[in-house]
Symmetry: C2
Subunit: 277 residues, 2 copies
């Protein structure tokens, strides 16, 4: 999928919502716990109910990996269920990978060849050759961590470079944007620092941003859009816990759909105000 | 395991060799390909033949993950085989993980609870709260990427901070060394930049370093020891491909043992010269 196709899907669904499948087996409703694969049953319910309001899903790999071999089967089945439900959905493996070339090649194979994800989140610390193998798959994306939504972002991401005065996250944006076209690279930019999105847009006016931190982490959708939207929308705004764990009862899927629709309606307004639909 | 116990094992085996199990299914000898689990058979051969010469093993998670659910079973069985072979071996999950707190908690659970690794490699970009959950397991370690052995290390790790003039990898060392005692944290420092180990030792004289890049990546053991050794040795020097793929025939395990013994003998000399044994 390229950025034009992604934008078309955003226009069609009037939504730039990404739903994070942080499907913690200990948090899913009790009535699902006796099924053969509780997390898969939970995900099916969530995806079936919410897909009209979302353009993307983002399974958080940690939650599957923590279940061992079985968790990887759940992940694989979940991805296939998303594809069957709507082949135009953009699916992100939130894996934060990055290693020397021969190792990253294996990670790329895992997510783009063994499984059919559209994108993988990657950490920038090891530099260009650590993400290059992911870019060898046409139509597939990397999503580079630039400015994250957690407290620890302050530890290194705001460090200022001698000479240029630029902050580390700005240098990451500037350098890594040159590694691929805006059809293969997007950036993580946390919603908990929405005003920073204006600084980020100075470096990458045209790229898509994956924005976590809406909902449970406290970020504001209005602010994110104010500072971050561009002529192709350029935003995938993620919500995980705020949608998938909105209700812990048998009604979980219905309630998740309500939450997703609430956000989608706000997004439709934003797209309309910005004359993007 | 704490740093004193690790040092005792180093003295006992006269070795600070870590063997990287980057067990690529496409590179293992053809006679193993017909077995039910070729990578596990390969690893068993390598571990059985090399364990007298090594104090640590480091499965590279990417190579297991790329085999899907089956790969995770292979990883789990390999770890258990290492424990049965010699319970004093230090076993590192080379995973380069790091994410927001609730996600890192899941990764910690995977490697320290579901499986019984001693240490996990982590990426520093997201800061303290992204590695904190790993430190909640007593006796378990994080190994923080500081200076890596690949070309891409130049992209961000050498960036100098305005004011202090320190390089990013130095700031990572300085800050993250305060997150835990030298009994729970070590650092990755690439052997391809051995002279940099002197700079690294200024920040962390007492910590263990995991040093990749010996062998296939071109680093020199002598230089690494010259600049990096401390009063408890303080080094785990890794070799992966140079040992495990030294021979592609039925003799692969024997040849791997020869290669490991060669390195161990050099290490024994170094330990002796430094009066550590």
């Amino acid at each position: 999928m390229n950025s034009n196709e992604l934008f078309k899907n955003i226009q069609k669904k009037k939504s730039f919502l990404c739903i994070g499948l942080d499907s913690d087996v200990h948090k899913i409703p009790s009535h699902l716990q006796d099924s053969g694969d509780p997390v898969y049953e939970f995900n099916k319910g969530i995806i079936s109910a919410t897909h009209p309001y979302a353009v993307a899903y983002k399974p958080n790999i940690a939650f599957y990996e923590s279940q061992g071999a079985k968790g990887w089967e759940t992940l694989d089945k979940t991805l296939r269920f998303i594809r069957e439900t709507d082949p135009e959905l953009f699916v992100i493996a939130d894996a934060k990978r990055g290693d020397i070339g021969n190792t990253s090649r294996m990670y790329a194979k895992t997510f783009f060849d063994q499984m059919d994800f559209d994108a993988v989140t990657v950490a920038p610390y090891m530099g260009r050759d650590s993400v290059q193998p992911f870019l060898e798959y046409p139509g597939k994306w990397i999503i580079v961590l630039a400015l994250t939504s957690n407290i620890g972002a302050d530890d290194f991401q705001f460090l200022r470079e001698k000479g240029s005065g630029k902050r580390l996250f700005e240098i990451v944006l500037e350098k890594s944007a040159a590694w691929a076209s805006p059809d293969q690279i997007m950036f993580v930019a946390g919603a908990t620092r929405a005003d920073m999105l204006a600084d980020i847009r100075r470096y990458i006016p045209d790229h898509f941003l994956l924005v976590p931190g809406i909902g449970a982490q406290g970020g504001s959708l209005q602010e994110v859009c104010h500072y971050g939207i561009n002529q192709k929308c350029g935003l995938l705004v993620n919500s995980s816990r705020g949608i998938i764990f909105a209700d812990g009862s048998q009604n979980y899927a219905l309630r998740a759909a309500e939450k997703a629709r609430e956000i989608q309606e706000q997004m439709a307004d934003v797209l309309d105000q910005n004359r993007l639909i």
